[in-house]
């Protein structure tokens, strides 16, 4: 070996070492803000530096080969830049783009309110629903604090943007639930049948929703049940109005749960003043079973079944005869079961399939009797294809069969009615991004209403455009069809689906725990059921109407330490000329102004969560048949302030929540107008009964104990 080789090598090496050049420059976020502490390094080496307080950096380097400089900074997209050979020193300036994190990404937002643990860009978490004062474990009551809903406290169901309650359909794991509410007679408020603790995600759409859901004119409430529970747990609940027990057993890849509950407010109603003269207050028994299995191929099978038996009787005057109390009773049996299968087949395909069956029977007696039953079966399958460029295509089909029977009897008549309905649909929908700023969802839904012999095609479109940091505009449009209510179908099936067209514009801005959201909408109804008063068998699809308004929402989790609040306001202008309305008029469930303020405060020292919910509904119209003008009376303004306290503690070493709540704390006078009889009295006058809440105030105390290692927050 000749020493010259070594010499040459040594020379090259030392020259390189001495011939260091300097890369210098600045890293900015946006136009002028310096990126402080950003990381700069030469790719493939350990050499690098960090920017100083002005975003500036100096990096000595060897001007040998060309090199790649990497700029990395938290919350921003990583940048790489080729540095050419042969330059001694360079001044470089980098402008970083914010990372397309979930929180900053443009999302389809028009019409939708989502609560989820898994997604970040949501306005609510499932726990927010559970802890809303006044909801008492009723999902529906919590959703009624969101904009776009109209408070109808005497009814209890969800009324969305001038739509009647039946215009909202409820879906659990994609499958439609035929009877989402408990059974009741008019003017006695109902509750949601399902406990909010069952769900990991809630998406409440007040308009312009996805083509994956149909047969709903106004709104889709989409609930997703929890997957495998974290651990085995036994839950006990003891309440002023009942008790319950449930157990969940968790194995490696599966879980089984079972529970029973019993509600009997009898003792409570004797203690606390009631507006209703109960004979037997609402008693209910419920039983639930649930099963989860994670398959070896990663698929998840979920199955559950619920049974509820409830009934009550009370002394209640008929509107035709307000001075005489007559006994009114109701008995309801409800069964619902479903099974769903979810599988990610590979990186491209996902499959979701489900089956459900339900049966509901109801008997009402009050000088007349109604026996009503509804049986339902359905199947649904959805395949999703994911593409590399963040686009997804959803293809799905469903079939829902329902069987309706009713038997009405009084001293004069005996009417039986029955019909079967088959609803078959297929949809295709694509969702993705057009560049960084635009998100698009476009779908088409084809529906077959077999009973009505009608086929319908509805386009749905949703767009969102990112406007600056945290802000975005959104737009949605769609056609929505729904079969007429069973109330009318039992008289005549010579009808067509009703139709609503939605137009929504929305602006949303969120920054560091604060969200503000405004949505303008217009909804056009056509083909609504209409008939001359008293003759529903002559019904036609000649009715029409509109609803338009503004919904505002503000949520703030940061301004008040340990406090969290949201304010919802809805302005609604709506008229309809439908059913037996003699003229176009605002229906009795629509209030012009609705306001909700929900406040929650966590008191660390007391381990107590305090919640307050204030609700205001402006007067609603109702009709007095004794006056010539239609819907000319107004209910008083409705106000309520509900308070709840949840104290978290331990009982015999087990996680325990003591929950207490009271409605109408301030004792507002609450009443909802009058209900008039169908027939005039001998003097030719229509008499009425006042509609009031079941009690001036509702008190609730409950103790909930979780036994087991996975006791945290499960219930």
């Amino acid at each position: 070996m000749k020493p010259t080789y070594f010499l040459a090598a040594f020379l090259i090496l030392t020259t390189a070492l001495n011939g260091q050049s300097i890369l210098a420059g600045r890293v900015l976020t946006g136009k002028t803000d310096p990126a402080v502490g950003a990381n700069l390094y030469i790719k493939g080496t350990f050499e690098g530096t960090s920017t100083d307080a002005d975003g500036q950096f100096h990096l000595p380097y060897l001007p040998g080969d060309s090199l790649t400089l990497v700029v990395s900074y938290i919350g921003f997209q990583q940048l790489e830049k080729q540095i050419p050979i042969g330059k001694d020193s360079l001044w470089l300036e980098f402008r970083l783009k914010p990372q397309a994190s979930e929180l900053q990404q443009v999302v389809i937002s028009a019409g939708a309110f989502e609560a989820s643990d898994e997604k970040k860009a949501v306005l609510l978490k499932p726990i927010d629903i559970v802890t809303t004062a006044g909801s008492n474990g009723n999902i529906v009551a919590a959703l009624n604090t969101l904009p776009g809903t109209q408070s109808n406290a005497e009814d209890g169901r969800i009324f969305v943007r001038g739509g009647d309650a039946h215009e909202t359909q409820t879906f659990i794991d994609g499958l439609r639930v035929p009877n989402p509410y408990t059974s009741n007679v008019p003017d006695l408020p109902v509750r949601g049948r399902f406990s909010p603790f069952l769900f990991k995600g809630t998406s409440f759409s007040t308009g312009g929703y996805s083509a994956a859901y149909g047969d709903a004119l106004s709104s889709a409430l989409v609930l997703q049940t929890k997957d495998l529970p974290e651990a085995s747990v036994t839950s006990l609940s003891m309440m002023t109005i009942g008790a319950g027990v449930s157990h969940t057993e968790r194995w490696e890849n599966s879980a089984l749960s079972a529970g029973v509950d019993y509600t009997n407010p009898g003792p409570y109603t004797r203690l606390v003043p009631q507006n209703i003269d109960w004979e037997d207050p609402v008693t209910a028994q419920g039983a639930q079973v649930g099963f989860r299995q994670k398959m070896s191929n990663g698929a998840l099978l979920k199955a559950q079944a619920n049974a509820q038996w409830s009934g009550f009787s009370m002394r209640h005057p008929l509107p035709e005869n307000p001075t005489e109390q007559s006994l009114l009773s109701l008995q309801n049996d409800n069964y619902y079961g479903s099974a769903t299968y979810h599988q990610l087949i590979d990186e491209e395909w996902q499959l979701d399939a489900g089956l459900a069956a339900g049966y509901d029977s109801e008997r009402i007696d009050q000088r007349f009797s109604v026996d009503r039953s509804n049986a339902m079966m359905q199947g649904r399958a959805v395949a999703i294809r994911y593409f590399e460029n963040d686009w997804a295509l959803k293809l799905g089909t469903e079939w829902i069969h329902s069987d309706f029977e009713e038997h009405y009897q009084d001293t004069e008549s005996d009417i039986q009615s029955a019909f079967q309905e088959d609803y078959i649909s297929a949809f295709a929908e694509t969702e993705g991004y057009l560049g960084e700023k635009i998100a698009l969802r476009a779908g088409l839904r084809a529906e077959r209403y077999n009973l009505l012999d009608a086929n319908r095609l509805s386009p749905r479109l949703s767009l969102a455009y990112k406007a600056g940091q945290g802000g975005q505009f959104a737009f949605a449009y769609g056609h929505f069809y729904q079969a007429p209510q069973q109330d009318w179908l039992r008289f005549t099936q010579n009808l067509s689906p009703e139709r609503a067209d939605h137009y929504l514009v929305n602006y949303q801005y969120r920054k560091g725990g604060r969200t503000i959201r405004a949505e303008l909408y217009h909804k056009e109804y056509q083909n609504l059921v209409q008939f001359p008063a008293g003759t529903p068998w002559l019904a036609e699809n000649s009715g029409e109407g509109y609803a338009r308004g503004l919904d505002l929402f503000y949520r703030d989790r940061v301004s008040i330490p340990n406090g969290d609040f949201w304010v919802s306001y809805s302005y609604l202008d709506t008229e309809r000329h439908y059913e037996d309305f003699p003229v176009a008029a605002t229906p009795d469930f629509a209030a012009k102004h609705n306001l909700s303020v929900v406040y929650k405060h966590w008191i660390q020292e007391l381990q107590t969560n305090v919640g307050l919910t204030y609700t205001l509904g402006s007067p609603r119209p109702y009709d007095d048949p004794n006056t010539p003008r239609f819907n000319d009376l107004r209910t008083p303004t409705f106000q309520d302030l509900s308070l709840n306290l949840s104290y978290l503690t331990e009982l015999f070493g087990h996680f325990t929540i003591v929950h207490a709540s009271v409605s109408n704390v301030l004792g507002f006078e609450q009443s909802f107008g009058e209900r008039f009889g169908n027939q005039p009295d001998p003097n030719g006058r229509f008499t009425s009964t006042a509609i009031r809440p079941p009690a001036p105030r509702f008190f609730f105390v409950g103790v909930f104990v979780s036994i087991g290692e996975g006791s945290t927050f499960s219930n």
Binding site: S72, S101, S711
Partner: protein
């Protein structure tokens, strides 16, 4: 020709040696920066340094990604102390990215599994009421997996103790449950020998502090 071959193989071995040497040197410098940061509580410098090393680390080295993740978690702790929940989440996401790399290199590593639990615990700081229900069981499960994977490593016990100490008693936390883990951690901090001066050795000081606080609380409760 022979000379050329010798020269070539020599150059190659020098370059491999040099690369390893450079890696070791970079790691030593970075661990030094980390030790300094443990005093100043400003982890941005070692976070950047470890990020560079992670990007160019020789195959099979999990430590740079592990330390990068650790530094980002410490940055999240800083964000929590300054009351910046959005930053907590951003740092933890970056910490998760780095830890995922470390996991790929060394899947059943008790130190990495323990750090996974730490990230889950961190998410609770950003929004205790909202994130607690989901992340608390996940972090407890992660610490348990870490303990099973390496029963003589101290840090999973330490972090579990810390998690339980700050978790209210009715959720299954509290000083009493914390103490049993903190004590086990203290024993292991005494006996456990890191594989090299570069292997994780943090946590013993804070563990001692927590143990004292938890014991003091327990004594107070007894009175």
């Amino acid at each position: 020709m022979r000379a050329l071959i010798i020269l070539f193989s020599l150059a190659l071995s020098i370059s491999t040696f040099a690369q390893n040497d450079r890696y070791t040197a970079a790691m030593e410098k970075a661990v030094g920066e980390l030790q300094a940061a443990e005093q100043t509580r400003d982890f941005s410098a070692p976070a950047n340094t470890f990020e560079r090393i992670t990007a160019a680390a020789p195959e099979g080295e999990w430590l740079p990604a592990y330390y990068q993740s650790y530094c980002h978690i410490m940055q999240a702790v800083g964000a929590m102390q300054q009351g910046k929940p959005d930053q907590i989440t951003a740092f933890l996401e970056k910490a998760q990215g780095a830890l995922d790399k470390a996991k790929e290199i060394s899947p059943e590593n008790p130190e990495i599994l323990a750090l996974q639990g730490y990230i889950y615990t961190g998410h609770i700081w950003a929004d205790p009421m909202g994130n607690g229900p989901m992340y608390s069981p996940q972090s407890v499960a992660a610490y348990q997996t870490a303990i099973e994977a390496g029963p003589d490593h101290p840090r999973a016990y330490h972090l579990m103790g810390m998690h339980l100490f700050y978790m209210p008693a009715m959720y299954g936390g509290g000083p009493e449950r914390a103490v049993s883990y903190l004590e086990k951690a203290a024993e292991r901090f005494e006996s456990y020998e890191p594989a090299s001066p570069m292997h994780p050795a943090w946590g013993s000081y804070f563990n001692q502090q927590l143990l004292e606080q938890a014991t003091a609380k327990l004594e107070k409760e007894e009175k």
